[in-house]
Symmetry: D2
Subunit: 282 residues, 4 copies
């Protein structure tokens, strides 16, 4: 018997679909299309973020990302704007109508983030921060749970179980690469996680090819692979000027490359949909 229960396919045969509503838009995750989440690694300032947000909306992004609290390996790296950046995300949300997602690292930031953020992200370093998971389990907001850097599929679903157990059923899983011996890429994206999660669980799964590879040239191929394998969406980093990004510039797409990738993803997703219409996808 599998150790996870509420997260398991046995518990719920139907795919969970996450619905996010903003004043001017409704976005679904897990209903068969490819939901595209895009934005810079970190929110750097109001002007640039708003400009990019409008640009991404025009290019077809479904959800805006932007980190306020950046978990950085070194205490000397840029740590994000923190609470003071919430207003920027709120304004981008209002102006574009797109939902926004940002990472939460500390339960004490919940009050600040809750009113303005549509999806609360748990980063890979905090996948097993059980205090945080339990707190999010009490919310009525979607949670995106990134896979830990060396978490097994089972541990990942058990982390989701901590949230589900609290009553919050709106969980999106995000594969973002695991740690292996390979040195050319930042991490190794585990595309196999996509069909495996689809088999084991009813929760939607998306892939983050930016963090998984650390190289912008690999982002589009991995995003296509994710969609072809059956992922419900992708989350990618886009920056107006990647060379000047305060964090993760090397893995950020320019808006032009983002647009090209988005077109490709639609086509690959359509094949899966047509396929699924006539027969169940394996």
């Amino acid at each position: 018997m599998k150790p996870f229960q509420l997260a398991s396919r046995d518990h719920c045969a139907t795919d969970t679909i996450i619905t996010i509503v903003t004043p001017s838009r409704k976005v679904l995750i897990g209903e068969g299309y490819c939901t595209v989440i895009a934005g810079p690694c970190a929110v750097e300032n109001k002007h640039d973020y708003l400009y990019l947000a409008h640009h991404l909306k025009d290019l077809g992004a479904d959800i805006l990302r932007g980190g306020l609290f950046k978990p950085r390996t070194s205490p000397y790296s840029f740590q994000g704007l923190g609470r003071s950046g919430v207003d920027i995300l709120a304004q981008a949300r209002l102006e574009t109508g797109l939902p926004v997602i940002t990472e939460i690292m500390d339960v004490r930031d919940l009050d600040t983030l809750y009113p303005h953020i549509d999806i609360l992200q748990v980063g890979s370093r905090n996948m097993q921060n059980y205090s945080l998971l339990e707190e999010l389990g009490r919310l009525d907001k979607p949670v995106m749970l990134k896979r830990g850097l060396s978490a097994t599929i089972e541990e990942w679903l058990l982390a989701a179980e901590y949230v589900l157990k609290g009553g919050n059923k709106q969980i999106i899983l995000c594969e973002r690469g695991i740690r292996t011996f390979e040195a050319y890429t930042r991490n190794t994206v585990d595309i196999g996680a996509v069909p495996l999660i689809k088999q084991l669980s009813h929760l939607p799964i998306i892939v983050d090819p930016s963090h998984a590879t650390g190289k912008w040239k690999m982002v589009a191929p991995i995003a296509r692979a994710a969609v072809a394998a059956g992922a419900d969406g992708v989350m990618v980093e886009v920056h107006q000027d990647p060379d000047r990004a305060l964090s993760d510039g090397k893995q950020s797409l320019t808006p032009e490359n983002f647009a090209r990738m988005a077109t490709q993803l639609v086509r690959h997703a359509q094949i899966n949909l047509k396929q699924a219409a006539s027969q169940a996808l394996l």
Copy 2:
């Protein structure tokens, strides 16, 4: 500077295309389509192999696989038919017109295999068996070099370099999963290897989703992902009756599932081709 030379994109800007000719057919690997290699893990007997070979030809397979020498972790497992099975592969090749590929483990088997086999495969356990690589470097036959279970991309290309240095330029790289901590799958397929190899090298790369996952239900999704990421082909295990296979039954497709997957692959490959026609794929 990269330590590999003849294998590098710098040495040869044009993609290497492997051409294999049988009495009745010409098969290319690396020209933009998805070459499909299929067959049972091991050749078990003449009757079954020939029957399956004709079936696979009808379903669109481009190349037939079939192991004669099986490198098994335990000395007590079925080790393959050995030299006595060469005639079966030769007959299948003659009857179907499809090229055949089989693994070589010992330089002393070269004389037996050479006249009848179109592609000589080096298995993951032998990726750094330099005596074998050097011997294959002197041949005028294509070599498929599987990635070692924990080989870095650099070590893999340096293993290819051993063959190239001998003068044999017909090398097909095959990603077949790497070893990680994940226990639900046999190995973790590294789809990122596909775009990375395309960037670093001119050699064609295919993916083996059967060995990479160890689960037949994951084979089609991973094969689709490989093609969407830009792979030149896939190699999959197919068995008439997977439950009775002498080896690797759990990861083998039935002919029916193979046919369904093949159709999907063509569609995903076409998107990439259309895309490439108007602009370079990232």
Copy 3:
């Protein structure tokens, strides 16, 4: 240049020695002997804990361990006594005079733990919980920082840097095994971390062979190896009745086996001390 600064050997050539004082005893970590931390994985009840605490004191333990907040992979496993167990640790400390160490998972528990606990442990799952690290950086109490399951040495020292940067210089590093592909043991203990940390940093390092191996039969050999390699101490799980432990029974020593191991450790440590007296240990 190394990315860590305050943690580096360059910043401080002299070994950091941690001094812990209780009403009746002074314990040092990092001064050349082998400090032995022992106790059950989790505090289960007052009677058993106090009984074992006295036993361990008699057998030569230097510090008592006992988990109150247990970070468990599954939300359905025993989660520890929580805040209600603090009194038990406090009483054991008072009765035996031995310092006590317990894990902190949530900054909101700090007020409860601070007055009664001598060393606050950060578990491997929280090695990169930066909110927690920053909070501990403001304390005047020793912190034991366990290595994350797949943390590199550099990431580990950078996590220590988060605490050091806040002003708290009393950090003990604890190697507790890393995640690899090996399945016979729970994790793979990285004994090489001991000489490497000694080279790179001035902070003391101890080894936890219980979590690293998951098998009590391997605890004594790995503890001996740790000491021979130059570790400043070991932390081991001991339980009166391992078969009945509420968590981690399989890796717990009986008091008898603990006593035998402790004798061995003293002997191996003495060799290193004699060696160091005449010449620097490599």
Copy 4:
């Protein structure tokens, strides 16, 4: 049931002891002391090798190592003297009376090596080169089987089983580090393999701290750890002038450092022996 049979402790409760006899000496491996194998990574020329061989004998080495066929990741690196170097090893053996060990990579070299070499080493890259293992299984000479870079304990013992099945029972296992994500060291030495092999098998096990770490400063601490954990010996690289070594200079000890380490090892081994005299080591 364990998949290995002849290698298992169940098959043979008594520890296997390997006896090697030269014209002037008898060396045992597995009888409780610490057997020390030392020498340069590669035999570079006669003069230097003989000089070092005499030096190592005087410093207490039990067996001489020296690579003739060097399996190098790049075809452009120094590949060893090959067959022409056998005479050098033979002369060192004759002059010092010490047994010699060298690696065999190709079954076709067996005739050349057999008459002059006391232990034939199978390198980590060839741990699953079954043709080679089967050939060595027919010999009446000890075989040292290095663990593959990402081999599980079970796969390693099954590789030994290939040799044992052929009738050759003289196998020495050698742990030489496994591949992990850690980048500061070449590999991660798995000291846990020592007690685990002792539990699962009757075969002797030694540790190679030179290849495992890639850093000479870590060699002595890891060698001490290995002995303290119960290993039957160590194999270390020693070079007269490490900075000028044709291969692996960074991990080679000078004779002076070798001598210091050898003294330490004797002391740690004695503790284990005393301990074992009164009670079984855990």
